[in-house]
């Protein structure tokens, strides 16, 4: 009897102790974040307006840990500065329409964190944040050029690239080895060989050819650029109808033969599902497939690795990576509070922890953060570290602006590749259609 009671008591006391410890740790954790935030607020060159409160709209998480860390940072910011922040989260595809409406009516969230196309669609409506960009760039080793381009217009910053979402080849290690390749091929010719073998071995590859805003645009642009084709030249003349594009389309027409059926209907999530079900040899995606496999303790995680997009005939990387931009509107009543929050999110104390929590899904846009441990603790994340340096921007080879954003949103390149790949039209016709559609956006 006494023995049992003793045991009982001791278990209870242990429980109590652990609870207290846990609570202490939690408080301590929050405390440090809060301390940093308080110190930051005191030192920051951006002095918020009295009684400021902000509304921020961000896209809904794809990686849970990132989201939790983001919320913590915002909570610490509110405590340290006394600025109330209402954080709304919505599905990624809804952010751009919301931003458009907010810009048009002159009311809505003060700050938006969302897809790359927004700043150049509504440049006149955004708060100038050149001072924030200069401050952060000076402190953290400077910005990478490609993501920065999405935020700069006529030499002034209208938005900051908070991060880049790297999009790379996801493949099954064993399947690639079984096909006779030591590692994933780094040329387009090698990719063709591999695809042929994978199909023969019953685990074909496939990439999205449907309305996949992220995945579809990423790989279709890579394909065209890797063969030297481009939507526009540097003066903004539409040049998609070219021998180079034709070569790219003929290449994909053959490659498509070796792919899993149905890619023409894929949107951004199809390849995730199919890859995780074990039926896909390779695809292109962010790190989210691997992250999901690791989180759920799936066996497949061990067999997944990532690779750069193969280099095409032009002999250099031609990736299209997707930056996520953070911007504030001119109509905000508290421009300085906006700047304070934007700079706060990118300061080392917040950014390092957040990048770590995003497990490779996001890549830094400020060079100093290359040193983050997220890139060293799991070698399968290493390719994503380069996302900010290996990418061209969506307006390549012309400038970013309305036209580039419009053509991307209208799937001009994806549709062209899809038409040619599926054999719905000849490559020639697909190029001519794309040429006409692009000219509409790039007309003077």
């Amino acid at each position: 009897m006494t023995g049992i009671r003793k045991k009982d008591v001791s278990r209870r006391s242990v429980l109590k102790t652990t609870t207290v410890l846990a609570a202490g740790a939690a408080l301590g954790g929050a405390g440090t974040l809060l301390d940093h935030a308080t110190a930051f607020a005191a030192e920051s060159p951006f002095k918020p307006e009295k009684g400021a409160s902000l509304r921020m709209l961000r896209w809904n998480r794809f990686v849970e840990t990132e989201d939790i860390q983001f919320d913590k940072s915002i909570a610490a910011f509110q405590k340290a500065t006394g600025i109330k922040v209402r954080l709304d989260k919505e599905f990624i595809d809804d952010i751009q329409p919301k931003a458009a409406v907010a810009a048009n009516v002159g009311a809505g969230p003060d700050i938006i964190w969302g897809p790359m196309a927004i700043p150049h669609l509504i440049p006149d409506k955004l708060l100038d944040v050149t001072d924030v960009a200069d401050y952060l760039g000076g402190k953290y080793g400077g910005w990478y050029d490609a993501p920065a381009a999405y935020g700069i217009r006529d030499g002034n910053w209208m938005a900051l690239p908070l991060c880049v979402s790297g999009n790379y080849i996801n493949y099954r290690v064993k399947a690639v080895q079984d096909a006779g390749f030591e590692k994933f091929p780094d040329t387009t010719a090698g990719l063709m060989e591999l695809s042929k073998k994978l199909k023969a071995n019953g685990l074909p590859g496939g990439m999205a050819l449907g309305r996949a805003t992220g995945d579809g645009n990423a790989w279709c642009h890579w394909l065209v650029w890797s063969h030297g084709g481009k939507l526009v030249d540097k003066d903004g003349n539409v040049t998609i109808n070219s021998a180079e594009t034709q070569a790219a389309l003929e290449y994909i027409r053959e490659l498509y033969e070796y792919w899993i059926p149905g890619t023409a209907s894929w949107n951004d999530s199809n390849n995730n599902k199919i890859f995780l079900s074990g039926e896909l040899g390779y695809t292109n995606n962010g790190i989210s497939i691997y992250a999901a496999a690791v989180r759920q303790g799936m066996d497949i995680a061990k067999d997944i690795d990532h690779a750069f997009y193969p280099i095409g005939p032009i002999g250099k990387p031609t990736e299209l990576q997707l930056p996520f931009m953070i911007e504030a509107f001119k109509y905000t009543k508290y421009p300085n509070a906006c700047k304070l929050l934007m700079s706060y999110l990118m300061e080392a104390n917040q950014y390092d922890a957040w990048l770590e929590a995003s497990v490779g899904y996001f890549t830094q846009t400020l060079k100093a953060y290359e040193a983050n441990t997220v890139w060293t603790e799991d070698p399968k994340r290493r390719v994503f570290k380069e996302a900010s340096t290996r990418t061209l921007d969506m307006g390549y080879a012309g400038s970013l602006g309305y036209a580039a954003a419009g053509a991307l949103a209208d799937f001009v390149v994806v549709d062209m590749v899809s038409q040619a790949a599926t054999g719905q039209t000849s490559p020639k016709e697909a190029m001519e259609t794309a040429q006409r559609r692009a000219e509409r956006y790039y007309r003077v």
Partner: protein, 317 residues
């Protein structure tokens, strides 16, 4: 002084000042009662419609006011094969879906009009597809049509009828058929339940009279049920056509207009160009281009309803 007195005098003598006339005159009173409804219509219907039409003749982009450019947007659309493809798709979608919805809806209504056990419950169940939020049912259909995980493909393969998954949403014609099927599934309850309500208003005495005259069941349907149902059919089908013509959610959730615009309807293309692409003027032009077709559908039913003979089921002379 005198004039003043005269003036005040005349004012008090007058039986109705302007204010009281506005307050008590029957005609004015009628006007006042209509004001809230009128304001509502102007604010929420006329104004957005007018604005849409205005935008369609400007080059407005998101975040930038446009200038008047006449019919340029329409001229461009006229040369745009994607636009014409969306017009074709919209008509195909509307025609096929509406005809099948009408046929199956009427059939279902007649079935449900019979005496049967659990009548109320069955009728409630029939309404389900209509009650489920469209986006949810669209996502369910998206899974049903999945290229790898489709339950239809899986069942047919298990049954040994096919060997490969059906490419539901990846092939242009399959994709069209798939979205039309989803629309039919969703639209039937509306047609069926409304027609059922119509069926129940047909006096039983007419059927009794027909029975005495020795009419067969088909003749009863052809000469009693159908004519009596015509007015409600006109209303139901007008609405059904309008809903189908302007459908957006099903397409947007399932295909986004893909593969390669094969399922783009005018509504989804308008959204893609205006909101996602930032080209408000062109997007507005696409939705403005829908107006004549919608008007035609409304006028058809309006004049149909005005016709006494049609209402009474006689042929026009």
């Amino acid at each position: 002084m005198a004039t003043q007195v005269e003036r005040t005098g005349s004012a008090t003598v007058s039986p109705m000042g302007l204010w009281s006339r506005l307050k008590y005159d029957r005609n004015w009173l009628g006007f006042w009662f209509m004001v809230p409804a009128g304001a509502f219509l102007i604010l929420f219907l006329t104004y957005p419609l007018g604005l849409g039409i205005w935008l369609s003749v400007t080059d407005t982009r998101i975040g930038r006011d446009g200038v008047y450019i006449g019919l340029e947007n329409f001229e461009w659309l006229n040369k745009d094969p994607v636009f014409w493809l969306s017009v074709f798709n919209t008509f195909l979608y509307t025609t096929v879906a509406s005809v099948i919805k009408f046929g199956l809806g009427l059939y279902l209504a007649i079935l449900l009009n019979n005496q049967m056990p659990f009548k109320a419950m069955i009728r409630a169940v029939v309404l389900l597809p209509f009650i489920v939020p469209t986006v949810l049912s669209a996502i369910a259909f998206w899974w049903i049509y999945d290229t790898q995980f489709s339950i239809i493909s899986w069942s047919l393969i298990e049954l040994g009828l096919i060997t490969e998954n059906i490419n539901f949403l990846g092939d242009p014609n399959n994709a069209r058929a798939s979205v039309i099927a989803a629309n039919i599934w969703r639209g039937i309850p509306f047609v069926a339940i409304t027609l059922l309500a119509g069926l129940q208003t047909i006096p039983q005495s007419l059927y009794e009279a027909a029975t005495i005259d020795g009419a067969s069941r088909w003749q009863m349907f052809r000469f009693v049920t159908f004519p009596m149902l015509t007015p409600i059919i006109a209303v139901v089908m007008t609405f059904s056509v309008l809903f189908t013509f302007t459908d957006f959610q099903l397409i947007y959730a399932m295909t986004r207009g893909g593969p390669v615009n094969a399922t783009h309807l005018m509504a989804t293309l308008s959204y893609q160009r205006a909101i996602m692409g930032g080209n408000l003027g062109e997007g507005a032009a696409i939705s403005t281009a829908m107006i004549p077709f919608l008007l035609a559908a409304i006028l058809f039913s309006w004049f149909g309803l005005q016709r006494r003979k049609w209402q009474q089921g006689e042929s026009d002379d």
